[in-house]
Symmetry: D2
Subunit: 295 residues, 4 copies
């Protein structure tokens, strides 16, 4: 036969796991979206329909719920490591298990009452292989905006260029960031995540920007500077354009626009993707397999 099965993978996506800790009257809440997948030698399932090596996606889902109790959700990374190890153990044909988790934040309004925080979502992508294990922590839907200290000029121009140079513009993005930890144990995942998030916000707020690229690079460097345990960080960042509204056609007293009124555009948007990498840490392509944004 002139063709063959190539890479393949299967799993259960988007199990909505809610874990309540009710050991005391002051309950805790963890609200997760969990996806698992396995890759390895599943050729027979494709070519002959023989499912003997296939741990069903339904079982993967059951395990995700069970491990929310058996192992708990002290941190999403820790939970994902335990779940990934279990799935790899349970499925001999698998070379690696990947577990992706999104955690939706809730703020407490009572001993057993919560209001959903909204805004950014904490993420983890854990790959447990036969040889190595990788942890990517991350954040998505982190919408950031600077009202000034942003320019864009000195760019390449061709015959299709009409963009005016900008000395002072709004810079806004809805950031996806993922960072790979050099090690996968002995880490206080929650503290580490909180620290990286704080660094990202501080650097975004404190950096004069000559392009979104420069801001992202500064954010990446700041994270690697502050966190010796992080090997690399990757960003996927839309440039959410805010166009100054042109009031020049109106003859109305007081209707000027000194960077005060903008239209927030939906599409198109710029899209910037960039990585910042520590020099002395080997790459780990496997950790990023099938993770959108420079996978």
């Amino acid at each position: 036969m002139a063709h063959r099965l190539g890479a393949n993978r299967y799993g259960k996506a988007e199990s909505r796991v809610v874990r309540i800790v009710r050991d005391t009257q002051r309950h805790e809440l963890h609200d997760l979206n969990v996806s698992t997948s396995l890759r390895g030698d599943f050729e027979a399932a494709h070519t002959t329909g023989d499912q003997a090596a296939v741990l069903p996606t339904d079982t993967q889902k059951n395990t995700a719920f069970a491990y929310a109790k058996l192992h708990g959700v002290g941190s999403v990374e820790d939970y994902a490591l335990a779940l990934g190890s279990r799935l790899l153990d349970a499925c001999p044909a698998a070379e690696a298990a990947q577990v992706r988790v999104e955690e939706y934040g809730w703020d407490r309004i009572g001993d057993h009452s919560f209001v959903r925080r909204g805004g950014s979502v904490r993420t983890a992508v854990v790959t447990v292989g036969r040889e190595a294990t990788h942890v990517l922590s991350g954040i998505c839907d982190l919408a950031l905006l600077n009202t000034t200290d942003s320019e864009f000029k000195g760019f390449l121009k061709d015959e299709f260029t009409t963009l005016a140079e900008a000395d002072d513009r709004v810079l806004a993005t809805s950031l996806v960031a993922r960072w790979r930890h050099t090690d996968t144990d002995g880490i206080d995942w929650n503290a580490s995540h909180e620290a990286v998030r704080a660094t990202l916000l501080e650097t975004f707020a404190g950096t004069y920007s000559r392009a979104l690229q420069e801001t992202l690079y500064a954010m990446g460097c700041a994270v690697l500077d502050a966190q010796p345990g992080i090997a690399e960080i990757r960003f996927s960042a839309p440039n959410l354009h805010h166009f100054l509204v042109d009031f020049s056609g109106f003859q109305i007293d007081g209707l000027s626009n000194e960077g005060e009124v903008f239209v927030a555009a939906d599409r198109p948007y710029g899209l910037i993707e960039a990585q910042v990498t520590r020099d002395d840490v080997p790459p780990a392509d496997e950790a990023w397999l099938a993770v959108p944004g420079f996978c």
Copy 2:
């Protein structure tokens, strides 16, 4: 002709108005989604194509942006009142102008830097008519969850009923609430909104629930008790089901489920809509015209 034009309305929906106040180095940011519409005598536009009475939706959009500067956005209600009055003045054929605003919250992370808050969105629906003006303040996407103190039992049963009575269940919703103010001026809209939001949260957290209906009614009563200037409040509240995961099929030590692990379901969901109304205030159907959720 045996048929005729009935009710009609037209406008510009979802202008994304961003207003930055940069009077000092500490900038302010207002991020709005503004929709306007006019109703009145626009019959010719429909029947003969004569547009002489029609203020274009493009002009309505321009006015929405211009008023973000000319009038400012001290509060969404105040901005909407000014914009609605202007549109009514500018269009003699209109009987009423309706302005709907959603305001997305941002938290400050620097003098000119912000991170989007997410979570609930503040809303306003203002109707400026020739005779009367109405203000509906509101909130949407307010996701609330109680991990206990919620039951559902004693309900009507028929031959299709399989639901078990529940003594202790998760109660969760993503609330839309809108409330009508008796008056439309002399009000500190921002303080009023903050107070209503606080009452909604406190009451949700503090009420033992025998049904989502009871919780909503308690929330409505609490708001009307606390705010003499509010004539009525209306809720549209999905019952976001959280089903206890059944671990009984597994023979695994420690794998019990005493209200600890739930699956958050997407669809179907319960949908509860209810109004609480002050006895001595006349109704104002016009205020709710074309507002989803018991309009």
Copy 3:
């Protein structure tokens, strides 16, 4: 107490009911999204937490699935009428049951194989009351576009008007239309729906447009002219703006734009809502209760 419960309603939204008819080897497929709600005297559920009168939303869901078998889905209107009658019978406290259905079309690619059609969705909203029954048939997500024969000029101008008059523009919408039948039985619902859809398309294609309002009115009149059993029709129609791209800044041979290249904008959009009503049929507000788009 100075306040009281006002209007209220409850039900189960968005049950995804899939019905397969497999009487012969050539299977049939009906793919529905079903929402039911009851209104009536449910005051105790709100004020005292007594659920004795409340038929659970879970039971409503069970009934929706059971009736897909017991009654079948010959047409969505017919199914909704049967389901609404059953719910009203099962719940003595209810004054009326409303059933909303969306039907997703699938095209046959084999005796038991289908590909989802996409595009417009067929809808029905049936209200079964103690006194009267109403049927609204409808269609949503019907995206229509004319590349010419559309103008917009002669409109009202004020100091915020910058829109140029247009002799030849793209006219595009994503239509929601709902129409009320005078009677509720003896109707071939499928044939009726097909005929209305055909009239809407023909009229959109065949009408020179001086505004979207004029086009909608023409479509409404054409439907009422062709279908004596339809009492009224209501439209909610975004004006999906297509802006001519300005190539005038480029000095490139052949780069003109005689109505050939447009940018399809997302937001804002015009929003036109209009009704066309038969003169001699009494109104039926109840039929439109809580149906968005001039409810």
Copy 4:
């Protein structure tokens, strides 16, 4: 410094390009969503803020619109090849330009009138490099459903497995498929796409399925068998679960369920990704860079 810029890329995403051909009274319509990106030596933009090598995303957008006129949209592949070549020429620092296009289908209802087809979307991802050019044709949102001839049994079981073996189940997916052409010119792209789509549908309809994996593999083999010019095909296919509704708790005449009533679930869903590759064609990782689904 211990860290450095890694891979990076930038461009303009989701330009909504609408091209009307009006050479005769019978107009043609092409409705596209176009994203472009460049990768290469853009280090200075990140590290020093120097934009001299950066062709602005705004210029990329302008070029996308201009090429809809200058080159036309005979096929999305052909348009993307021309646009990608132009962008690479215009930006000396770039190593490669990637152009992604989605084309939304419209059906004719008049000489200048169209109704949007909905359903599946045709896609193309073209990478124009200094050394090589690659074309991926594709389709997304292709929802397919078999009502029978699908089983799932003989799978691996562990202590968390509760899934019953199924002899006859609904098989449904919303397919994303992308296939790489060995050559990039001399191809009738439209005919090729139509032929692949037909093969995918025929094979889905005609294959008895022992797992979605087997069906996908059969579809991939059928495409490669029929199309010697296609080097490989990749699938990302959710397993859209349809669960048989359990009527066993009801004591109602006629209420059985022999594969007739199902609930269509939203989440979680299985997710199967697989590639089928021609043996004698070298891989081309660059073609798949940053394309989700086994990139």
